[in-house]
């Protein structure tokens, strides 16, 4: 993975000193609340319901075992012994004291990490898929591109006070596992006869106004990536709305101008800087790409693994759900579920568990860990013959749950238990659903199903693109839950449709159960939930859910 050089190290060190000074000035009354706010956000520090929350960047979701151990140490020493992995592949610590923030980011800098631009109206942590570099269906490793964008966007002086936050995702495999279509800018990288080409998508986003991105530029040569991004950001910075924060994302600008006019503006801007000094060089690409070359992969016997699959049904179920095809046939990528059941909020991992995962990655993997945008963790390269041992260890640490891609593998935001923005709680609803669907055989029978929960319309839990989406809403001071169905992520992403009036928290599990029953009755062959919804419409689901007299909000 990418190793910091002299410049990267200097940047994070100086940033620690700078933010330490800003915190001190704030505490001494030399910076007002209003002046301090954007500064702390640009360093990933939020003020939540009960305490400060620090969001640490995990660039494109890649961690070394050493970094994961440090996150575990931070959880133990500065928080309540756990961290929360997010849909942007970052980690959040929920119980932070302002005084100790400099110490924490110093510790991060020690292991080449930071919290820069994980919040604020800036270019945020660049994301890609968790299997980058090892997936069997990959055209090219997207991480060098993501790292190059990370560097370009970090403290880029022109784009630190944008109209609103700006999220970029990169994908370069057959299947889009990076939610590219719901990003402000998404880049699909393809290998063509003419070399690597980029399809640039723009104007996606969830939140109050969910919109899927549209194609802005097709077949862009890779050398132009930064100049083209600069042109997009410049147009956005100049024309994006600033009068209403809910209409300030680039998706609203693209929608109001229309994609063609927006593309013309970008083109005009780009022509001025295209072929200028920000054009990427082969030398730079090489320098960065070399650092992502994986350790040499070797042939290894798989007979023990095959025998274990045949012998142990629980193990083979886990392999079936929790592994991903590796480019080398002796290996698999292991997905570690952070959603074992009702007692664990999705995405929460304890310090002890972090250390166990770090150990496993060193002993059986390549010393790397990835974070998925579904809030799970991945050991990208494990030899098949070690899988049984890995699974056994994971199981003992409550990390061996075989539910990846299933209904209980929910994306859930922290919700009203932590978040100052939330209208309703998310975690207890997730727990009730976990409880209701605790029968693994039933879950496996339902098959792949994305269930996403957000505690407010900011949509951190991506409810719009869940096959089933749950949105917490506030009605006259009480918490209700609106249900959408038919959403989907990926290259052919879809926004779900609201089925009707909202429900009380206690009724959510049985509503989901009814939706699932309708699906099971109507599905054809291996059809997935969102495709069934697409084919038969939402009416059969509505009729079933609202048939009995269930109390709903009007």
């Amino acid at each position: 993975m990418y190793q910091y050089d002299f410049y990267d190290k200097a940047l994070v060190r100086e940033r620690v000193a700078q933010f330490r000074d800003q915190i001190e000035r704030y505490q001494a009354g030399k910076l007002t609340e209003e002046e301090f706010l954007p500064l702390r956000l640009q360093n990933g520090l939020y003020l939540q319901k009960h305490a400060y929350m620090l969001r640490v960047a995990i660039p494109y979701g890649t961690l070394s075992s050493k970094q994961l151990r440090t996150l575990g140490d931070i959880a133990t020493e500065f928080d309540k012994d756990y961290g929360h992995f997010t849909t942007r592949q970052n980690i959040q610590f929920n119980w932070i004291e302002l005084d100790r923030v400099p110490e924490i980011i110093e510790r991060l800098a020690d292991v080449e990490m930071h919290s820069i631009q994980t919040s604020g109206n800036t270019v945020r942590n660049v994301t890609t898929e968790a299997f980058a570099g090892v997936s069997a269906d990959e055209f090219v490793d997207p991480r060098p591109f993501a790292e190059i964008i990370r560097q370009w966007s970090t403290i880029n002086p022109e784009f630190l006070f944008l109209p609103r936050k700006f999220k970029i995702a990169v994908s370069s495999s057959v299947k889009d596992r990076a939610a590219v279509r719901t990003h402000d800018v998404g880049i699909y990288i393809n290998r063509t006869h003419g070399g690597l080409r980029l399809d640039v998508m723009v104007g996606g986003g969830l939140g109050r106004t969910p919109i899927l991105s549209q194609r802005l530029k097709e077949g862009l040569e890779w050398q132009h990536m930064l100049t083209y991004l600069e042109a997009v950001l410049r147009v956005y910075n100049r024309h994006g709305r600033r009068d209403n924060r809910y209409k300030a994302r680039i998706k609203i600008l693209v929608k109001s101008l229309g994609i063609d006019v927006f593309a013309e503006e970008v083109e005009k801007e780009w022509q001025q800087i295209k072929n200028g000094p920000s054009e990427l060089t082969a030398t730079e690409f090489q320098r960065v790409a070399e650092q992502f070359q994986s350790a040499s992969l070797v042939e290894a016997p798989t007979y023990e693994y095959e025998a274990a699959l045949a012998r142990d049904h629980t193990f083979s179920n886990w392999v079936d759900k929790n592994t991903h095809d590796h480019k080398h046939t002796s290996y698999l990528s292991v997905v570690i579920s952070t959603k074992p059941g009702p007692n664990n909020p999705p995405g929460d991992v304890t310090a002890t568990q972090m250390n166990i995962i770090a150990d496993l990655s060193e002993q059986f993997g390549d010393g790397e860990i990835r974070v998925t945008h579904e809030q799970n963790l991945v050991l990208p390269s494990v030899q098949k013959r070690h899988l049984y041992d890995v699974w056994s260890t994971l199981k003992q640490a409550d990390l061996g749950h075989s539910n990846i891609g299933l209904l209980t593998d929910m994306i859930t935001c922290p919700g009203g238990d932590y978040c100052a923005l939330a209208n309703a709680k998310s975690i207890p609803v997730a727990a009730d659903i976990q409880q209701h669907f605790s029968d693994l055989d039933y879950l496996h029978d339902i098959g792949e199903l994305d269930l996403n929960i957000s505690g407010c319309m900011n949509a951190c839990g991506h409810h719009h693109v869940g096959n089933i989406g749950i949105l917490g809403v506030d009605k006259n001071g009480s918490e209700w839950y609106q249900v959408t169905i038919g959403g989907k992520q990926g290259e052919d992403a879809r926004i779900g449709k609201v089925i009707g009036p909202s429900f009380k928290a206690a009724d959510v599990p049985q509503v989901i159960d009814k939706l699932v029953q309708v699906f099971i009755t109507h599905r054809e062959l291996e059809e997935q939930f969102s495709d069934t919804v697409q084919r038969i419409g939402i009416t059969p689901f509505k009729e079933r859910v609202y048939a009995p007299a269930m109390e709903t909000a009007e």
Partner: protein
Amino acid sequence: MNNVISLVNSSQPEISEHDNWHLVDAIENSEAIWPKSMLVIPFKEWLESAEAYATAPKAFWLDNETDVHLVEPWLDKIELIALNFPKFTDGRAYTQAVELRTQLRWRGELRAFGDVLRDQLTHMHRCGFNSFAVREDKDILDAMKGLNGISTRYSGSAIEPEPLFRRRAVI
């Protein structure tokens, strides 16, 4: 103008509590003591009336919604352009500055005014501003520290067009 940090004459910042420029909302609001030539007038007024004055002002200011390309015909007639930060969180003037410097090749003085604060000075400088009228309630010596910035600059900028990957020494 008051509370000004300037990098116009030297790479070492110079401070003046009051300098000779005088920024006005409208020419008619300017006091008689200011020579017309030292007024920084709204660009709109410049367009309407600048030609009419014998000693035309040598500077104008732009609000952050104005397309900077409109000023192109006048660049050889003036000495200073001031860009407004109505709130420090409104970043449009950064892009205006970059465009003035890199696309219109403006070489004269480019001044930031309005909600100009210590912690944004480096960003402004990198976008091409070379003088800063710091908000008047702020201590200018303290504000000056904001120019120190961070030594690693990945992206190129108006004052340093090459990004780090073209400047990078092999270490």
